[in-house]
């Protein structure tokens, strides 16, 4: 069935226009960074010619988790924090589908943190976009695990008590991390390159996107927007290759080989300047769905034979009715 689908898709669905991926009109606030993420993902789908019916966007709950509604693919708008296990179930039963996960900083790093850690270990072939606006948007401005210490929110009116959690160092610290990148919503060209690299990586691609929430934290990323020197652009033949225009603006660059995990960890811990680019990539780590041989063709005959063999183990035959022992 899988092979059949593949060739059908090749035959009929070669080209798609951008509109083919545009679902409902986004209901995000003006200036919300989620719009930029949506634009680059729609562009990716078009450029890669992804069949809309074989592409699934899975999300949790939050402003960012509305994302699937704005794609004209299959979508699964799930429950808070649980996008990852839903996506894993989909991938396990249908490994041929393209699976994307959209999740917020609360969704992924707080309520869904256990799933995030284990998703890294499973290393299933899917792309996760962490829309990290450092705040809970949908529920109207509560502190998030990634809010910097001192952030004033409705639950921390005198400022956040704790130092922020760094999703990059956490991810890079977990066994089987295979793709870790950071993008910012305000440099669309690099965002696109990163999303594209994530899509092409076979394994669990973790992309943190620093995303503006003008509604609740209008000042949060202002210093970085105004001073390009505070962005550390990671470049490499195997990573981001900025256009001359971008390279001209973001001059604080560093050549970083995504194969170098020690250096990746060092870079990941830098909060200022913020690193942008591909921190780590290791295509050699096996995917859980491959280890589990997902997507096997099953026939009723296989199931029948398997069941009969199992029943044989427990069977008491009437006298004289034992089946002939097979050789």
């Amino acid at each position: 069935m899988t092979a059949m689908n593949n060739c059908l898709v090749r035959l009929y669905d070669e080209h798609h226009a951008l509109e083919d991926y545009q679902g409902g009109v986004p209901r995000w606030c003006n200036g919300c960074g989620d719009n930029a993420i949506l634009a680059s993902v729609q562009r990716l789908c078009r450029d890669e010619g992804l069949a809309p019916e074989r592409t699934v966007f899975v999300s949790g709950i939050g402003c960012s988790s509305r994302f699937p509604h704005y794609m004209k693919t299959y979508g699964f708008h799930g429950i808070h924090g649980r996008a990852l296990p839903i996506a894993q179930g989909i991938k396990m039963s249908r490994p041929e589908l393209h699976v994307f996960v959209n999740t917020g900083d609360g969704d992924c790093c707080s309520i869904g943190a256990a799933h995030w850690i284990h998703a890294i270990r499973y290393n299933m072939n899917m792309t996760l976009l962490l829309h990290d606006n450092h705040i809970y948007g949908l529920t109207k401005k509560q502190v998030s695990p990634t809010s910097p210490v001192g952030t004033r929110s409705n639950t921390t009116p005198r400022g956040a008590f704790l130092a922020a959690l760094n999703p990059l160092t956490v991810t890079l610290g977990v066994q089987n991390a295979s793709f870790v990148a950071q993008a910012v919503d305000w440099i669309p060209e690099v965002l696109y390159q990163i999303v594209s690299a994530a899509f092409h990586h076979r394994g669990f691609s973790f992309v943190r996107v620093l995303q503006r929430c003008p509604e609740f934290l209008p000042q949060m990323f202002e210093p970085w927007l105004h001073d390009p020197q505070r962005t550390l652009l990671l470049t490499h033949e195997d990573g981001i290759r900025p256009s001359p225009a971008i390279a001209g603006i973001y001059r604080n660059q560093q050549r970083h080989d995504p194969a170098d995990i020690d250096r990746a960890r060092e870079i990941a811990s830098s909060e200022d300047p913020i690193p942008v680019g591909i921190l780590y990539r290791n295509p050699a780590i096996p995917c859980y769905e491959d280890l589990r041989q997902a997507g096997q063709l099953r026939t009723p005959e296989m199931i029948r034979a398997g069941l009969e063999a199992e029943l044989d183990k427990f069977t008491v035959w009437p006298a004289g009715a034992e089946p002939a022992v097979a050789g």
Partner: protein, 633 residues
């Protein structure tokens, strides 16, 4: 008393076996001494002989309780009968114990018949620790004084003739002895040892077979106990399985492909067995990071492919509740197996209880109509999963299958299932969706709608746990919200119309109807049958579908002067000073029947962490019949 070690009972010359209609035998030891395996094997051998059999595990709450402790009894109880056996029965007739302390635990729990036969390891009498020897002597003396028939047997010493460490192997020696006592076929015993140790190498099997034979020979030469329970080999093939194995086989036979779980007693053994065999037929058991992940993983698998299953027990079920609300709202088929237990944390709570019926019917959040079924026999465990899968996919609903710890480890021969291709779902639909079709085109009468699966061209939509309209668009308007609730509720009615009314066990009317659900069926029927034989006008009704409930139940209830439920969950005792008709908390099914049928239904329940015994049910029914209990003031 002391000097009988050489020949604990006078050497015997071919005693005549006493013919019995049934016997309950148990074997108990410290955990890890293999009494479980001995009992399971004994049950399997008797079943192969053609006896009715019901095995129940005796499980200590801790994995490694201290040796020789009263709370540490681990083992198995086997009820063997000349005819079919539907439950574990009452107290034990004959017990084999590896030390007197675990035996004492069984005595104190009231599990042994007064004056029953005890076959006891005698090595403790001469133990080098004087305190242990004294403890043993005192206990045996007391048991004899209390009327128990104690046979002291040098099992350890006899086993040492074959193995260096009798902790490995005494169970098989005891099995041989029991085969002799119950006149079972030694050749079947040898086969069973080979099967039980199939994962071990040939020398291990040979050693254990030698132990089996030694146990047999010793009993032949030294023990006067001889019983024979007439057996009739079935004319059709039977499979001897536990409830949890039957559930796993049901999963396999249902054609489901993904089972996501997180370990929890007593559900875990379903996934142990399934993990061993599922991959051979292309299935996958996924042990997730927690129950929430297990449930949502199964939901994702169901959404994009064939209906999936998640297996759990009470506390795990609690964690799945939010996800179940999502599956209900988004109309994703899902089978949830809850092998119920008593409560939170671990230990005693892991034992038998029917505690989750109301949670299953009414849990999650908001209105979340789900189908709830309960299995009441080992055979049910197998077929219920197949039915559940079919209902889940026909109605795009969550189907909860309730089993419990009593059935989980109970073992019984059942007719060997004959595979049918109808058990399986058709391959997932990948055909294009017709123009204009909508993901939730609810049929206004049945509430049913199609299911668009990824891969279907033209079916693209975003499924959501939010209220949505027929096109799966998030709906903020009240009319759409209400329409969705309406349609999802209608599906239960549509299923209900397809259910057959349950059959009454006994006469269709009378003085008392006993209603039950789940694992108590065998015990209730046995009690009712005995009372009927004694002339009482009692009948029983057992429900498989708890939500929705079949038509016709109300009429059945009204044909009896009184109705009561028998359940293994908490209900307030009417003789408590504070309890009256205004505040009494009823057992789960009693609540539900009272609410639906407006009949004044009473209940009797027991929560002792063990299967309810037919004798206890009989006593409770008697009390109701004589009017001495039940009517809360």
């Amino acid at each position: 008393m002391n000097a009988t070690l050489e020949a604990p009972t006078a050497p015997v010359s071919a005693p005549v076996a006493q013919v019995l209609q049934e016997h309950i035998v148990e074997i108990v030891s410290d955990a890890g001494e293999g009494a479980q395996r001995c009992g399971q094997s004994l049950g399997a051998i008797a079943a192969k002989m053609g006896n009715g059999v019901w095995n129940v595990e005796i499980i200590p709450a801790e994995i490694q309780p201290p040796a020789r402790s009263v709370a540490g009894a681990s083992g198995n109880r086997i009820r063997i009968g000349a005819g079919p056996i539907s439950n574990g029965g009452d107290e034990t007739d004959l017990v084999v114990a590896f030390n007197e302390q675990v035996l004492l635990g069984r005595v104190r729990e009231g599990e042994l018949k007064p004056g029953c036969t005890i076959v006891l390891e005698s090595m403790w009498r001469e133990h080098r620790d004087a305190a242990i020897a004294a403890q043993y002597a005192a206990t045996v003396g007391q048991l004899r004084a209390d009327g128990y028939q104690v046979h002291e047997i040098p099992m350890e010493r006899e086993c040492q003739k074959i193995v260096a460490d009798p902790r490995r192997g005494k169970n098989m020696w005891a099995l041989g002895m029991l085969c002799r006592i119950y006149s079972l076929d030694l050749a079947l015993g040898r086969e069973q040892v080979a099967y039980a140790l199939r994962k071990k190498d040939a020398t291990v099997v040979a050693t254990n077979q030698a132990l089996l034979e030694a146990g047999w020979a010793w009993a032949e030469a030294h023990l006067a106990l001889r019983y024979r329970i007439p057996a009739q080999r079935a004319t059709e093939p039977q499979v001897v399985v536990t409830g949890n194995t039957a559930l796993a086989l049901g999963i396999l036979a249902s054609g489901m492909e993904v089972c996501a779980m997180y370990p929890i007693t007593p559900a875990t053994s379903v996934s142990h067995y399934l993990s061993d065999v599922f991959e051979k037929v292309g299935g996958i058991v996924h042990q997730a990071e927690d129950e929430i992940a297990a449930c949502t993983f199964a939901i994702g698998a169901s959404y994009s492919g064939k209906c999936a299953v998640t297996v759990t027990s009470g506390p795990g079920y609690s964690l799945k509740q939010e996800a179940l609300g999502l599956a209900v709202m988004a109309e994703i088929p899902l089978v949830v197996i809850n092998v119920q237990r008593g409560g939170p944390s671990t230990g005693q709570p892991t034992k038998a209880e029917q505690g989750d019926l109301l949670t299953a019917c009414f849990g999650s959040h908001g209105d979340a109509p789900k189908v709830v079924m309960a299995v009441s026999s080992i055979e049910d465990c197998f077929y219920a999963v197949i039915t559940a899968r079919k209902i889940a996919e026909t109605f795009n609903m969550v189907v909860i299958v309730l089993s419990d710890a009593s059935l989980a480890t109970a073992q019984q021969p059942i007719p060997r299932p004959q595979f049918s291709a109808e058990w399986l779902a058709p391959p997932i639909d990948q055909s294009p969706v017709p123009e204009g079709a909508r993901a939730y085109d609810w049929d206004p009468v049945t509430g049913l709608s199609p299911r668009f699966v990824p891969g279907q061209p033209g079916g693209m939509h975003t499924l959501t746990g939010l209220a949505h309209d027929r096109a799966s668009k998030v709906a903020y308007d009240p009319a759409n919200n209400e329409a969705g609730l309406h349609m999802r509720s209608l599906k239960l009615a549509a299923l209900q119309r397809a259910l057959q009314p349950p059959a009454v066990f006994g006469d269709p009317d009378g003085d008392l109807l006993v209603v039950g659900w789940g694992s108590t069926q065998g015990a209730i029927r046995e009690a009712v049958e005995e009372l009927r034989a004694e002339g009482e006008r009692v009948s029983a009704l057992h429900l498989t579908f708890l939500q929705p409930m079949a038509s016709g139940i109300g009429e059945i209830l009204r044909r009896f002067r009184r109705v009561m439920t028998v359940e293994a969950n908490w209900s307030d005792r009417t003789d408590d000073a504070l309890i009256n008709a205004d505040n009494r908390r009823y057992s789960a099914l009693a609540w539900m029947l009272r609410a639906r049928y407006l009949v004044d239904i009473d209940c009797w329940s027991e929560v002792r962490g063990r299967p309810i015994k037919p004798g206890s049910v009989k006593a409770a029914i008697r009390e109701r019949l004589t009017g001495r209990a039940g009517a809360a003031a």
